[in-house]
């Protein structure tokens, strides 16, 4: 293995690689923000919604959770292109957002349902309205409970974002393949990409563990 040659190739490709890493982080980041907002909606409808609303959201959730994320990505890419013109970035973002919302929704729902009933009753007893109860009593505890799993979802999203390479989003995986097409050093460049993914996911995982330790509800 000729490392000086590799480093000169790496130097040539540095901007492309950085852009690829940036795209991976940006699309995962936007997807987790939007997906979390949607997921909060999903969880609230499942726990507090009326019967029809619950049924619709439940069906959506079961459907998304039973479908592989790769199928979601391809379906969004091909389906939405029949209705409106979307760039691969937009289609991929929608797919990842939906994927994220199903994870967040299920997670938050579990956290909300796990709260003891006495909490709501106690809040009612001291005269809080339901919105107040939710904002000051239920949400803080449920969010605390759901936070570690939510951070894991972020790592899942970064890993799922590699699949966007297939629909032509130029994130790290596709960048790597493009560079290899010009500078045929697959071993080195794949190793580099793997290292970047590992570092991102590993730091997220460690962060999750640290947060879990810090904010765990005292039992």
């Amino acid at each position: 293995m000729d490392f000086t040659r590799f480093f000169s190739d790496l130097y040539t490709a540095r901007f492309a690689l950085l852009e690829g890493i940036g795209m991976t982080l940006i699309i995962s980041g936007i997807a987790i923000v939007l997906g979390t907002l949607l997921g909060i909606g999903v969880a609230l409808s499942l726990v507090y919604g009326g019967r029809v609303q619950r049924f619709i959201v439940r069906t959506f959730l079961e459907y998304v959770r039973g479908t592989p994320v790769f199928v979601l990505i391809l379906a969004c890419y091909y389906l939405l292109s029949t209705v409106i013109q979307l760039t691969p970035f937009q289609a991929g973002l929608i797919a990842l957002t939906v994927f994220c919302s199903s994870h967040v929704g299920e997670n938050l729902r579990g956290a909300l349902l796990a709260l003891p009933k006495g909490q709501t009753e106690a809040a009612k007893a001291i005269g809080l309205t339901f919105p107040q109860t939710f904002a000051y009593v239920l949400a803080p505890q449920a969010l605390r409970q759901a936070l570690p799993a939510w951070i894991n979802t972020a790592a899942e999203l970064v890993k799922a974002s590699t699949l966007l390479a297939v629909i032509g989003v130029v994130e790290l995986m596709l960048t790597t393949r493009q560079i290899i097409a010009l500078k045929p050093r697959p071993l080195e460049f794949y190793f580099l990409a793997g290292l970047v993914y590992f570092l991102i996911c590993f730091s997220i995982e460690r962060l999750g563990r640290a947060v879990e330790r810090r904010i765990a509800l005292p039992s």
Binding site: T67, V71, T82, L163, P186, L187, Y190, G194, C201, E205
Partner: protein
């Protein structure tokens, strides 16, 4: 919008979709239930063993694989490794190998947790009736641990089964691959993707129901 639903092209190739689904389930069974399980058991014992080197090696394996995307691992197994080693690997074999190693890391965590949750008295009881350390493991620890780990195992199996769809990206002829092919040939976009995702949902449901039945029958009575 002038989109008329027409499922005929999808039903015409429904046998292809079914064969793709069968291949996906088959790959999941071989790589998760057979090879991945074996890797997971061995690595879980290594992680809970007394030898620091064994613990280290197993820990590195689990941490590395769990923090890498399966798509990345698959591309390495299919494009990079064969080229470096100068061999040709069939794409199905490459994917089954990838999924086995990937599943092994997740199952290691499952079994490690199950091993740690076992009461100490189990091993001591095995030793007390004159079994060797190895016999105790095989005849006492593993059967009890497997039954305890079954719910977590089913969850992982379903999620790993869904990961078989990734194999479509290296043209392994499974469900997603055929769905894409029908999509590209007929442009019945809505029809083919709704059928494809429904097939995954149905398969996940059936697998989950089957595994839950097994869980209930094998659960350790309290």
């Amino acid at each position: 919008m002038g989109y008329q639903l027409n499922f005929a092209p999808v039903w015409r190739d429904f046998d292809l979709l079914l064969s793709g689904l069968a291949l996906g389930i088959g790959m999941a069974i071989v790589s998760v239930l057979l090879v991945g399980n074996l890797i997971g058991l061995v690595a879980a014992f290594a992680m809970t063993s007394k030898h620091p080197v064994l613990r280290r090696v197993a820990g590195i394996y689990v941490t590395t694989i769990r923090n890498l995307p399966i798509y990345f691992l698959m591309l390495v197994a299919f494009f990079v490794l064969p080229q470096q080693l100068g061999v040709r690997i069939d794409k199905v074999h490459a994917f089954v190998g990838t999924l086995s190693i990937y599943a092994g890391a997740y199952l290691t965590e499952v079994y490690r947790g199950a091993l740690l949750a076992l009461p100490k008295g189990l091993r001591e009881a095995g030793l007390a009736i004159g079994m060797t350390e190895g016999q105790t493991r095989i005849w006492v620890i593993v059967p009890v641990m497997l039954r305890n780990a079954l719910p977590a195992l089913s969850n992982n199996f379903i999620s790993l089964f869904k990961d078989t769809s990734v194999a479509a990206a290296i043209a392994v002829p499974e469900l997603t691959f055929y769905a894409r092919q029908i999509n590209n040939n007929t442009f019945r976009v809505i029809e083919v993707w709704s059928v494809c995702s429904l097939m995954y949902v149905a398969a996940c449901y059936l697998i989950a129901a089957g595994l839950r039945l097994a869980e209930r029958r094998l659960a350790i009575p309290h």
